[in-house]
């Protein structure tokens, strides 16, 4: 094809792909370790205990109670924008023998629909997503706690026992943790129509992760024979309150994707397509900019325009280099033309890890939103995603996304 416009579109698209991966601006300890690094990451040391057991009382967290899952719970809010077909389309008026412009729905929110954007077309989109995490496995992030156990001073494998001179070993330090964790995700999407039925695309997310953990420790005096031995010594040892504040900015996990629409405008059957997607481990997992794993997603897509109403279904499986993260994806939703330049949509989104570790294995969200096409092919979109099963994994009550896209 000799069209200058087509050459320009191709150049822009491959420029997007050629974006080099910049190292994130990060912290030595990593955003991921914001809780682990409370009290300098080596447990809690209290005041020197006097005779006859002179020692620096050292307490260690026996478990982070699964808080290590924070980084793996990152399904990443980015990369969920679908391939959407061009805003305006044509139907064929057989009686008049000419194409007629039709008002198509402006597309789903986070799901895919089957039609492609058209040969030689380039769609560029930019989204901003704000995630303010609220809970982990049903517990509010400002209501987490850790239990620190005393070291086994005499090495006999038993703490205490109670009523003995060593029963101060049964003392504990409880730490209440208030964790604030937010992510701002700026994502750039490029989709190019290789042929009428085949699109290729890339998603480049830039993520800012910000985590702040505040630990407030209290001593639980369980000793009977030697009560009151343990005290804080904020001057020489750990203070009761510890704060770790970390943030990082960088490129997240880049996604390469392709969609092939193999059935369209059949009289009875829906439009059908398949999507293949590779998520590369380009984001620094230590700073929660990525999952640290490479994933391959295969998705089956069905959608059908029925007047102003377009239902759609997505079903697929994502293989991860970490088998526990491999998951089944499903979406059921619809979008509808509310006005010639306004579409509304709702989607039920699910993700299930059959080999998961028991934390956040099944995530179900409801997304609602709309898209507005004020002029030409420019489309503005907004959606809110609500967690339906908040007791699973690391969740935000509501995730907001704003976006803008255009097709050339």
């Amino acid at each position: 094809m000799g069209s200058k416009t087509s050459c320009l579109r191709t150049s822009v698209f491959f420029s997007l792909i050629a974006v080099s991966i910049c190292p994130g601006l990060a912290n030595a300890g990593g955003v991921k370790d914001v809780v682990r690094d409370l009290y300098e990451g080596d447990g809690i040391t209290l005041a020197d205990v006097g005779p006859p057991f002179s020692h620096s009382a050292h307490f260690t967290a026996s478990s982070f109670q699964g808080l290590d899952e924070l980084n793996t719970a990152l399904a990443s809010g980015a990369g969920n924008l679908a391939f959407n077909s061009a805003v305006t389309g044509f139907a064929f008026d057989i009686e008049r023998g000419l194409p007629v412009r039709i008002t198509e729905s402006l597309g789903p929110l986070l799901a895919e629909r089957a039609p492609t954007i058209g040969r030689g077309k380039l769609n560029v989109a930019f989204t901003y997503t704000r995630i303010d995490y609220d809970s982990f496995e049903g517990t509010d992030l400002d209501d987490l706690s850790l239990i620190f156990q005393h070291d086994d001073v005499n090495g006999d494998g038993v703490l205490g026992p109670p009523g003995t001179p060593l029963d101060f070993e049964t003392d504990q330090v409880n730490v209440d943790i208030d964790l604030d964790f937010t992510q701002d995700i700026f994502a750039l999407f490029g989709t190019y129509g290789l042929t009428r039925n085949w699109d290729v695309g890339v998603v480049i997310p830039i993520i800012h992760s910000d985590a702040r953990a505040v630990g407030v420790a209290t001593i639980v005096d369980n000793a009977i024979a030697s009560p009151g031995r343990h005290q804080f010594d904020p001057v020489n040892q750990d203070a009761p309150v510890s704060v770790v504040d970390r943030d990082a900015t960088g490129i997240g996990d880049v996604i390469m994707r392709t969609k092939y629409n193999f059935l369209r405008k059949h009289a009875r059957a829906p439009d059908l397509a398949v999507v293949a997607q590779v998520k590369l481990a380009t984001g620094d997992e230590n700073d929660l900019l990525g999952t640290g794993e490479t994933d391959v997603l295969g998705l089956f897509v069905a959608s059908k325009s029925m007047g102003k109403f377009t239902p759609h279904v997505n079903l697929g499986y994502e293989w991860s280099t970490d088998s526990e993260l491999s998951n089944v994806r499903y979406v059921v939703g619809f979008d509808a033309v509310a006005h010639p330049r306004l579409s509304l949509a709702a989607e039920l989104l699910g993700r299930w890890e059959p080999n998961g570790d028991g934390i956040g294995d099944s995530i179900i969200d409801l997304a609602v939103g709309g898209k507005w096409n004020p002029v030409g092919t420019l489309v503005f979109g907004a959606n809110a995603r609500f967690a339906l099963n908040k007791d699973e994994g690391l969740r935000s009550d509501v995730i907001w996304t704003l976006g803008v896209e255009s097709t050339f």
Binding site: M1, G2, F90, A91, F92, I94, E95, G97, L98, P99
Partner: protein
């Protein structure tokens, strides 16, 4: 003539034929009106038949300005041996530029209203249903049908009515044709058809008559006066027309264009090749309408029907 002379003559003749045949496949550029499935099907049919090479396919995306640029590019840079115009907008774009390159069109309705008589480089495959097929369908439907009524705008479908007049005469029928220039006048014309006692009404692919209000009124009159109506599409049959006849396959219309293109690239002049009409037709019969009109549809028509609405 001596045998040697005959042999030389034969050799010269063979050499002449060999050199007149193309050493390389001809190059064809395609201009498509818009991204529409029917056009893609037609192009697919064209590719099936074409014995030459398609070097470029351009989509004007329904934009006349873009079409002008593309036609200019085709004319000055690509310089193909033939242009295929797919759809009415592409044909309008090419026809308005007065280029020398032979043009074949496909999937165009009423091309005679777009291609002026002086254009000797354009021919193609139209979507039009052959007029004789429509007229004969009336005759097969009911022998009592003697007078067929039609409302038309002479600037759009006058040429079809001319053809129809010749055919009805041969078939021993009569044509009551009312000329109109606006949808408002079309409604009055439908009334006057009833007053003149037509036995059937034929809807032409005419923008003036296809106005939704006119169509609705015509259907209503059809039921009021129990006059069978022949429509243009399955949709019109579903709306209440007794019968509908339309082209059956976009792909086949594309094939027809491919056949014309092969002829032109083989040496024929477009001026010598008349526009073709659809050869693969689709017939829809509405039995509910037949019941309301008190008509029995002949078995031969039912057997031919692609869709029967019950």
């Amino acid at each position: 003539m001596s045998s040697m002379k005959r042999l030389w003559l034969l050799l010269v003749l063979v050499a002449g034929i060999a050199t007149s045949a193309r050493a390389h496949p001809a190059e064809v550029a395609v201009l498509v009106s818009a991204d529409v499935d029917a056009y893609h099907d037609a192009l697919s049919g064209f590719r099936e038949i074409l014995r030459h090479q398609i070097v470029a396919v351009y989509d004007m995306e329904g934009d006349p300005e873009r079409a002008r640029e593309l036609v200019e590019e085709i004319r000055t840079k690509l310089k193909p041996d033939l242009i295929l115009a797919v759809g009415i907008w592409a044909l309008q774009a090419v026809a308005s530029e007065q280029i020398d390159i032979p043009v074949t069109f496909t999937m165009v309705l009423n091309p005679a209203t777009i291609v002026h008589r002086g254009a000797t480089n354009i021919t193609g495959a139209s979507m039009n249903v052959p007029v004789e097929e429509s007229i004969r369908l009336f005759k097969r439907l009911d022998p009592s049908i003697r007078r067929i009524g039609v409302v038309f705008n002479p600037t759009k479908t006058g040429y079809l009515v001319e053809q129809a007049r010749r055919i009805v005469q041969k078939e021993g029928l009569g044509l009551v044709a009312k000329e109109v220039t606006s949808p408002r006048l079309a409604i009055k014309a439908v009334n006057s058809l009833q007053e003149e006692g037509v036995d059937a009404i034929w809807i032409l692919p005419d923008e003036t008559v296809l106005n939704p209000k006119v169509l609705e009124y015509t259907l209503l009159q059809s039921y009021r006066h129990k006059v069978p109506l022949l429509g243009l599409s399955k949709r019109q049959a579903e709306m209440g027309a007794l019968l509908a006849l339309s082209f059956g396959s976009s792909k086949d219309i594309g094939r027809q264009a491919g056949e014309l293109a092969n002829d032109i690239l083989g040496g024929s002049s477009p001026a010598e090749l008349p526009f073709t009409t659809a050869r693969d037709l689709m017939l829809t019969v509405n039995l509910k309408a037949a019941k309301k009109l008190g008509l029995d549809i002949p078995r031969s028509i039912l057997a031919q029907a692609d869709t029967v609405i019950e």
